[in-house]
Amino acid sequence: MTAVRLSLTALASAFALIVTSCNVAMAQKTYDIGASDTEIKIGNIMPYSGPASAYGVIGKTEAAYFKMINAAGGIRGRKITFISYDDGYSPPKTVEQARKLVESDGVLLVFNSLGTATNAAIQKYMNEKKVPQLFVASGASKWNNPKEFPWTMGWQPSYQDEAHIYAKYIIKHRPDAKVAVLYQNDDFGKDYLKGLKDGFGDKASMIVAEESYETSEPTIDSHIVKLKATGADTFISIATPKFAAQAIKKAAEIAWKPLQFVSNVSASVGGVMQPSGFENTQDILSAAYLKDGADPQWNNDPEMMKFLAFLKKDYPDGNRLDGATAYGYAAAQTLVKVLEMCGDDLTRANVMKQAASLRGFTPDTLLPGITINTSPTDFAPIKQLQLMRFKGEKWELFGDIMSGDLSN
């Protein structure tokens, strides 16, 4: 009897040993489709053609960055295969390309695909398939919804975060301001407007006028005239570059001199400030989270020098003045960080887990002080921006790094 019991115990313990050793072996190296001992396949969708083709630079920068990582030995010996397709900014095409990446190419994840409508088109599909739709390149706030879409995560500060920061600034420094808002009548403008209203909270009555315009309108002059007539002394322009420039020019023309804010989307010196005339753009406020390649103050910044060296050596076609290069570089760096954190457990679940446990990570081209933080309930990696004021022919950062979080 004892002998039997003994052998049973032995058997059980032997079995337990086998199970644990299996577990250990499993924990050492686990892969989902798209990852192996030698390779990690990353998918990406960009508008290389079509109306938004200027953003294609982001995809090209990322490709160059991963090439550089591969040349330096890859991530724990695994080379990144970066498969980037063109969707021409058309949602049905995005669906086709996403399905191609997931079902035909077998990528581990889709990274930094660009556009709001285009990503909305594949969000449900990606979550059904349980493939990470990681670091979506769009400022919509809806990518931060881990409960309903645990496989989708944004990257850049959302339009709402940025709007919160302006509202906070106005409440603190100009409590008696009468605010006029001009916004583009689309997802970008409306997301932003909602952010402003949330930001003002119970002081929402400070907004005395709202005007929306359609991108099809040849000029927005009449809206500016109307806004001036309301007697507002603060003007927030939520416009894409062409219209932002028109707004600044028209305001100057009719001698309306409110405190002006332009959204980060339209903060480009070459694209908006210069065409509006530098004499009209003095003291305009905006916010930034990336270092501006055109700004000489970063010339001796060691991290920026790394970025500039990368452009020179690995992506000579890239223009440092184009914010899209700094953007793509920082996004690619964030992904590499996540993949390093994954170790040898390259499963899709672990990728999301690691992406949701970033703490204080700082890519080279983010403004000093801005850090990337995520948690299982927080899928918005960048939430901070810094205010800046236009002086002379460039932006001057001022004040502290501000968080879009409304609770503080």
């Binding site: 079509g50 021409g88 949602p91 049905p92 079902e103 088109a121």
Partner: protein, 338 residues
């Protein structure tokens, strides 16, 4: 020279295609059909999805072909009808909770009415002027869909997410495969109906108008009625295609139905052969796969590569797939003689 004579001597905008040459022989049709039925059983879901899109665009191209190849009217506004069909299906499914299969005939009827009504003012226009009027429709559509008034239903710029249907009766088919066969059945039904339409009295009236409007009206054809009817039928079929497209893609948004789509459909028709209905599927394949091929050559120059490929097709086989089919037929006949 009187005005009437001038019109008569003018070369027709669309080359006359005899109605027998508009279809395929029975043998070839059966082979194509067999291929369409069997292939999905052996390929990945992604390829099945692409084949579904192939059929859907083929339907839309064929609708344009009936309008242009059949009745000789141009349209660059097909994307608008496609969008109306897509939105009708999407809204009915998501807001009214209607079964996807039932939304398609409704999408078709709505678009038929829309096309028929649009055909009324379009009657006064012909050739390039009509093309421009329809062009205006196509450019206006995405913005109309964004309008605040309809936003409650259309979802504005955010679009609407559509739920993909499962196979009914517990059939052991994947969603993609079920949707493919569902689309295939509808496509075949519409193809057969279209072929019969063109062979019928109405079809002969379309072609008479295409070949010579004055002669047609002298023969007693109600030119106004048949011209608008052609518009209506074309829009209706495009609407069904749009509805299917919305279900297959699972998403509708204004950005998906720009003038780019209308031009693609037009391109598909020319490449497939104007007035040759079976060519629609070849044209559809061209507009779906060639951009992908062009992209694989070069990312930055994909547009240019696509342009070169298109140029080659137009230069070498100006009548599109129909010309290739005819050449193939002649070669076969030669072999048979020897």
């Amino acid at each position: 020279m009187s005005a009437a004579e001038e019109i008569v001597t003018e070369a027709p905008a669309v080359e006359a295609v005899p109605k027998r040459a508009m279809t395929l022989g029975y043998g070839t049709s059966l082979i194509v059909l067999a291929a369409l039925i069997v292939i999905p059983l052996f390929v990945k879901n992604f390829i099945i999805f692409q084949m579904t899109m192939l059929l859907i665009y083929a339907l839309a191209v064929m609708a344009l072909n009936i309008l242009t190849g059949g009745s000789g009217q141009f349209s660059l506004g097909q994307s608008a009808f496609y969008a109306v069909g897509a939105y009708t299906s999407a809204i009915l499914m998501e807001h009214a909770g209607m079964n996807y299969a039932l939304t398609l005939p409704i999408a078709g009827i709505v678009c038929f009415a829309f096309g028929f009504l649009f055909g009324q003012p379009a009657l006064r226009l012909s050739g390039v002027y009509l093309a421009l009027a329809t062009f205006a429709l196509a450019t206006a559509m995405p913005q109309l869909l964004k309008l605040g008034y309809f936003e409650e239903w259309t979802g504005g710029v955010q679009g609407l997410v559509v739920t993909k249907p499962d196979a009914p009766f517990g059939l052991p088919l994947s969603q993609d495969m079920w949707l493919y066969y569902f689309t295939l059945v509808i496509s075949i039904a519409i193809y057969v109906a279209s072929v019969n339409l063109l062979r019928s009295r109405s079809g002969r009236a379309f072609m008479a108008i295409r070949d010579n409007e004055i002669a047609a009206s002298a023969m007693g054809v109600d030119v106004a009625l048949y011209k608008t009817l052609a518009f209506g039928v074309s829009a209706g079929i495009t609407g069904v295609a749009g509805g299917l497209g919305a279900i297959a893609v699972q998403f509708v948004a204004p950005d998906g139905y720009t003038i780019q789509l209308a031009i693609s459909l037009f391109l598909g028709m020319v490449v497939g052969g104007v007035g040759w209905l079976p060519g629609s599927i070849v044209g559809s394949a061209f507009i779906i796969f060639v951009p992908n091929i062009a992209e694989s050559f070069s990312k930055g120059l994909s547009g240019a590569v696509f342009g070169v490929l298109l140029f080659l097709v137009i230069f070498l086989v100006p009548h599109g797939a129909r010309q290739i089919a005819i050449i193939a037929q002649q070669t076969m006949a030669k072999f048979k003689k020897n």
